[in-house]
Amino acid sequence: MTRTRIVLGLALVTAMLVAGLADAGTSSHAKAGVNTAVSGSISFDGIWTSSSGQPQFEDVIKAFNKVYPNVHVNYKPVGNNLPTVLATAVAGGHPPDMADIAQPGTIAQFVAQGKLKPITYATSTMASNFAPAWLKLGTFGGKLYALPFKAANKSLVWYSVPTFKNAGVTPPTTFSQLLNDAKTIHASGTPAYSIGGSDGWTLTDLFENIYLRTFGAAKYDQLAAHQIKWTDPSVTTALTSMAKIIGDTSNIYGGTSGALQYGFNDSVTNAFASPPKAAMVFEADFVAGVITSSTKAKPGTDFNTFTWPSITPGPDASAVEIAGDLLVTFRDNPAIEAFVKFLATAPAAEAWAKQGGFGTGNKNVPASIYPDPITRLSEAPITTAKQVVFDMSDEQPPAFGATTGQGEWGLFQQFLKNPSNISGIQKQLESAAAAAYKKK
């Protein structure tokens, strides 16, 4: 025990020394960056499995080991059950050293319980790599706890190129153009929208983009924190705009009942089938992955993407909603510190970004790193955006924002079923939100 402590202490001192040296001479000696003094092993529970990012993350670890050869990162692919596994592990007192969490709401809970360690040691590294909006995403209760390592651009619309061509329309830049285009697409004989309403989160994403585009990032954050009630007139306005899409039932593939039955994957495969059954899908950058893996559509000629059209002109018009993986630490030691700092730098992001399926807010990562034009089109706005907000439903208490069939997801499905009942749905959203925030 004492021996370990001494070794760790020594390691810490050496790490500091080496870090100081490295800071002094990074530009001149690349080899001097190799740090053999810091050693140890890190257990990391992640959501990425062998088919969805584990190999890429292991490449990131390899890049890290080029600098810190003596730190061993034990990556465990937990999969989508990660929140459950983590909650149980934390309740049982044996959390991993690090984990990625996609829900800021869960991080806030862990912070409130005092289970997480702040990563303030990485503040300066992060500040030199990320815009302030990104540090804000990782800050909870005034302290930096999380590193937004991987981000998905959720402010995107994917469209079927041949359907747009048939209808003679071009990607819209404003909301009214979007609605006009939709009308023309309908007249051309193809429904404009493909909606995967069986997954409640596709609907909350649609609402969030409309709210963000109408009222901007500041107000968006207030609603996410429940400082604005769901009965607020701003919510009424956003829901009214949303009803212009989901209420246009003859323009949705499968109508309302189809939209309620199709999940996210169905909504993508329907729109990009051959021949396309619908023209547009409102969802994040990961749509591209579904298109290439489950349809024959080719990038550029069959499918393409455009940024969510602006609703209110102004600086917020380019704000981007993201979802992503926030890395957190349950313990603190030199090895973990070294890894966290490394993950905040450009080489870490580039190791994954060049393989695709990865977006980053790291401003030192050039857009040219992305492997193809479509990925560049979908990921570049994340890096350039002045305003970045996190997926709202992930920020709220999970009972309200992230439970299948309940809370926000369930209520937005009811809204899809009956888009005319705006005030009724607002009242229900508010009472569900109030109950969830009271419990929190």
Binding site: P83, T84, A87, A91, G92, G93, T106, Q109, Q113, K165, N166, A167, G168, V169, K183, T184, H186, A187, S188, G189, T190, G197, S198, D199, G200, S250, G254, S257, G258, L260, Q261, G263, P275, P397, P398, A399, A402, T403, T404, G405, Q406, G407, G410, Q413, K417, K439
Partner: protein, 448 residues
């Protein structure tokens, strides 16, 4: 020696007494030794979790134990609408499934006794038991799909309905301008027509692959005195075009039946559009008329029933679940049937009882113990039902299809992560199962 032997007589009597203590203790120790693994397992896997769950149900949502909340979690259980739906649905399950499964099993068992190939039949009915409930759920979910090109059940419906009400040529079309109004499933031109007039019937929302074959550029025929002419065309070109105006690049719609109706609504003439969409009602008597396209042109193809929709989801689940368990019930009842004394049945028949009477008055009463085993087992199964709902119901319908076990899983382990309310739901489920279990155990005792 002899004396010694005599004097030594009492010790053999007394000897067992001192040795009895260690002997009994030893036996207890041996007993405890053999019981220990089982008790340990029971303690770790059953008693501790059960006690912890009960205690946990009185505490807040997160952490190993959370803060004391009294009976709040139980209040939540009965006041939250989706949890109330879960309880209501479980009641429906209990009311329908055990009775249906027992009845269907009984019918199958009795009937298969009398047919050749009964083994083959029994195997077919029993087969679903060999499939995991999750796989069954996924399979039935696919069969229940609303789109007839995906779901087997609605595909059957489409085949049947295709015979009786075939889809129209332009099932997807809608009018391009408000001057065409829907009427009785078809479309009617609002403006009245006189002889010498022209009727423009513009339609949109026709997918390129649904434009009838042989269509050419739409043409507005020149007006003819005494005739009413017009054209039916796909009023769309890339970019939208001008609605209501025949433009270059817009195709006529051939083969559409257009009717000319008098002011009284009587069909005066009926004609079919040509390749360029034009039509001509010749020698029309003076008066005012309406032109319309009949409903059969727009008849929608069979769109399928929403088996997975909000109205049918619970019955759909029940059907799939009964399909799984009917085989189990049939096999158990058939076993009971084969061990039933035949002479009683023979005697009843000899006494002149009809087959229905034999079934009703002899077979069923004699089978009562077996039937009650099936019935009670099904009640317990149904109270705990989870996997089939999880796999079969689309996520958007979980709120409607919810059952107690599913609600427990979602509340405690998914999203909400509320271990307090989750535990309360589990305890509630446990309380519901206890009386049924007690009944079962009492019967076991009686059987022994």
């Amino acid at each position: 020696m002899g004396i010694g032997g005599i004097t030594a007589e009492p010790p053999p009597l007394a000897a067992p007494a001192p040795s009895a203590e260690p002997g009994r203790l030893g036996r207890y120790l041996v007993g405890a030794f053999f019981l220990a693994p089982a008790l340990f397992m029971l303690g770790v896997w059953m008693v501790y979790p059960a006690v912890y769950t009960i205690v946990r149900s009185f505490f807040g949502p997160t952490g190993f134990i959370g803060h004391w909340t009294g009976i709040d979690n139980y209040k939540t259980l009965f006041t939250t609408s989706y949890l109330r739906t879960a309880i209501k649905n479980n009641a429906i399950w209990v009311a329908v499934v055990p009775a249906a499964v027992t009845a269907i099993g009984l019918v199958f068992a009795v009937l298969t006794e009398r047919v050749r190939w009964s083994v083959a039949f029994k195997t077919a009915v029993f087969l679903p038991m060999a499939i995991s409930a999750f796989a069954t759920g996924v399979t039935w979910r696919i069969m229940y799909q609303q789109d007839p090109s995906l779901g087997a059940i609605n595909a059957l419906g489409k085949t049947v309905s295709g015979v009786f009400s075939p889809a129209g040529v332009l099932s997807a079309a809608s009018p391009s301008t408000p001057s065409l109004q829907p009427s009785g499933g078809g479309l009617v031109l609002k403006t009245t027509l006189q002889p010498g007039g022209t009727a423009l019937l513009g339609l949109t929302a026709i997918p390129p692959d649904q434009v009838p074959k042989g269509a050419v550029q739409a043409v507005t025929p020149p007006a003819k005195p005494g005739d009413i002419v017009g054209t039916v065309w796909r009023d769309f070109k890339p970019g939208g075009g001008k609605p209501g105006v025949v433009e270059k690049g817009e195709l006529g719609l051939p083969g559409v039946t257009v009717q000319l109706k008098s002011a009284g609504g009587k069909v005066v003439q009926s004609t079919t559009s040509k390749a360029d969409g034009s039509f001509d009602f010749t020698k029309v008597a003076a008066g005012s008329y309406h032109a319309d396209i009949g409903a059969q042109t727009f008849a929608k193809p069979f769109g399928g029933y929403g088996w997975l929709g909000p109205n049918l989801i619970v019955p759909s689940l029940l059907i799939a679940y009964i399909w799984i368990w009917a085989g189990f019930s049939m096999v158990v009842i058939a076993a009971g049937l084969s061990s039933m004394p035949r002479d009683v049945l023979e005697a009843a028949r000899t006494d002149g009882a009809g087959e229905w009477q034999v079934f009703r008055r002899v077979t069923v009463p004699l089978l009562a113990p077996v039937l009650s085993v099936v019935f009670v087992t099904m009640i317990i199964n149904v109270l705990k039902v989870f996997d089939i709902v999880y796999a079969l119901a689309p996520e958007s319908q979980y709120a409607k299809a919810n059952v107690i076990a599913l609600a427990m899983y979602f509340t405690a382990f998914q999203g909400a992560g509320d271990f307090g309310v989750g535990s309360a739901i589990a305890v509630f489920l446990f309380v519901l199962v206890i009386p049924v279990l007690a009944l079962n155990i009492r019967r076991f005792r009686r059987d022994i």
